[in-house]
């Protein structure tokens, strides 16, 4: 049985359909990258998985439990699903250290000293041991996002959802964040929405190409980049590759 199973997800905002039946599965420690044009429902799909915006129809299963079942304790399930936001969403009133430890303290009920020790470990892992005492506003975008990743990691999630984690960053800061994500490969399952084709190509176990609220095609990076079956996939990859310089970034 797959660790994460997404079954036939539909979601509309008002009368506008965003997702029109999306299904896929993920295994433990797998890295999957979702690509596709803007407005295709990639971010909505991630939010449907952790129920930040519950789907209209369809099911999400994690470790044999149905997240979409109203009887499921959603807070308990979310502990197992890390989420890294495009615009970071670090807690503005807390230091980097407390941003990472607060989930451990208040959700996992770990004692404060132990939680902060663990938070320090995670911040060291993302290269921010010198910034533990700083507040979000005092960090660069790349540092903020690495705190965001440390915050997700500290909860020991089964899977981390990344919602365009580098889209709000200067090109020179993207590399640090991608390096951290690469270092997590094979240690925790990652589902990454991104336009970083270098990352998709070199790190993903599988790439999902979405457009118009459905999955157009999915396959290994090699298949997708060199031998895509659908004309639309080829066109998109060609265009975005030229735009972002697939061989320079994050490779």
């Amino acid at each position: 049985m797959a660790m994460l199973e997404v079954k036939d997800i539909y979601k509309s905002y008002g009368k506008v359909p965003i997702l029109k039946g999306v299904s896929f599965t993920m295994e433990k420690e797998e890295t999957k990258v979702i690509i596709g044009p803007s407005g295709t429902g990639k971010s909505t799909l991630l939010r449907c998985i952790n129920q930040l915006s519950p789907p209209d129809k369809g099911q999400v299963w994690l470790d044999g439990e149905e997240i979409t079942n109203p009887k499921t304790n959603i807070n308990k399930m979310r502990e197992k699903i890390g989420f890294v936001f495009q615009d970071f969403n670090l807690f503005n009133h807390l230091t980097a250290l407390r941003n990472v430890s607060i989930g451990l303290e208040k959700v996992k009920k770990i004692e404060k000293d132990a939680a902060q020790k663990r938070a320090l470990q995670e911040l060291t892992r993302v290269g921010l041991e010198a910034q533990v005492g700083q507040y979000p506003a005092q960090l660069s975008g790349g540092q903020k996002q690495r705190v965001g990743i440390a915050r997700a990691l500290a909860m020991d999630p089964d899977v981390i959802l990344f919602d365009e984690p580098t889209s709000a960053l200067d090109p020179e800061l993207i590399g640090d964040v991608l390096d951290v994500m690469k270092s997590l490969c094979g240690k925790v399952a990652m589902l990454v929405v991104t336009h970083e084709m270098g990352f998709a190509r070199n790190v993903a176990d599988e790439i999902i190409f979405m457009e118009g609220g459905i999955i157009v095609e999915q396959g290994s990076p090699k298949e997708m980049f060199t031998n895509a079956k659908m004309a639309r996939t080829k066109e998109f990859l060609g265009r975005i590759g030229a735009l972002y310089g697939e061989d320079e970034t994050g490779g």
Binding site: L52, N75, F85, H93, G103, V107, Y135
Partner: protein, 224 residues
């Protein structure tokens, strides 16, 4: 001798000052506690509850404080609720302040980006935990200027408790006036000065608190 009467009366002003400070302290404590709960309820509770809170706020913000005091102290006994004057005054001050403070806090809550609560939920926090650990701490920091304002208003409005017989600063001044009416100007100037010093000090203290708890990234004054 007027001067002698004044000097003899000074300790009674001090007694009055203590009652004024007590009214302020208990009133603001009640108002703040209730105000935070009301604001959180107004923003995050189910619609019927939010609506009830809205009515509460509108009613309490629409009644003069002296009328509220009279309702509680003279009116409530008719429905079987007997309160002493001090308790009635604290209740009136606290309830009215809670309605004003709820507005202050709601403004602060509205300025907290939605992403903050999304991030809290993503860590597995329940709504209550997210409000308690993420929203309220930020809300309070953002509310300090508005709260300072409300605090000084409440402090000065304790003088209205005079109207239901609480022996606070104002009432003590009135006793001196009755004893020797030639002292009226000097006594009430003195009382005015005491209120002014209290308000002034409170504002200074709150400036320090505001600076201490200011969130990085919210320092508008850096651009003066």
């Amino acid at each position: 001798m007027a001067l002698e009467t004044l000097i003899e009366s000074l300790p009674s002003l001090l007694d009055g000052l203590i009652v004024t400070l007590l009214l302020t302290a208990v009133g603001i404590l009640l108002g703040t506690t209730l105000g935070v709960v009301l604001a959180a309820g107004r923003s995050y509770a189910s619609r019927p509850i939010a609506y009830l809170i809205l009515i509460y706020e509108k009613v309490l913000r629409g009644i003069p404080l002296l009328v509220l005091f009279f309702l509680i102290y003279f009116g409530f006994p008719q429905i079987g609720i007997n309160l002493d004057a001090f308790t009635a005054a604290v209740l009136g001050l606290g309830l009215r302040s809670s309605a004003y403070q709820a507005q202050i806090y709601r403004g602060a809550i509205n300025s907290i980006p939605e992403g903050q609560i999304h991030a809290a939920f993503s860590l597995g926090m329940s709504k209550l935990k997210a409000i308690r650990h993420v929203i309220i701490p930020q809300m309070l920091r953002l509310s300090i200027p508005g709260w300072s304002n409300e605090f000084t208003i409440l402090l000065k409005d304790t003088s209205l408790a005079f109207g239901i017989g609480v022996i606070e600063l104002m009432r003590q001044g009135r006793y001196i006036q009755v004893r020797d009416s030639s002292l009226v100007l000097i006594v009430f100037l003195l009382i005015a000065l005491i209120y002014f010093i209290l308000v002034f000090s409170a504002n200074r203290i709150m400036r320090v608190v505001e600076k201490k708890y200011q969130m990085a990234g919210y320092q508008a004054e850096a651009h003066r």
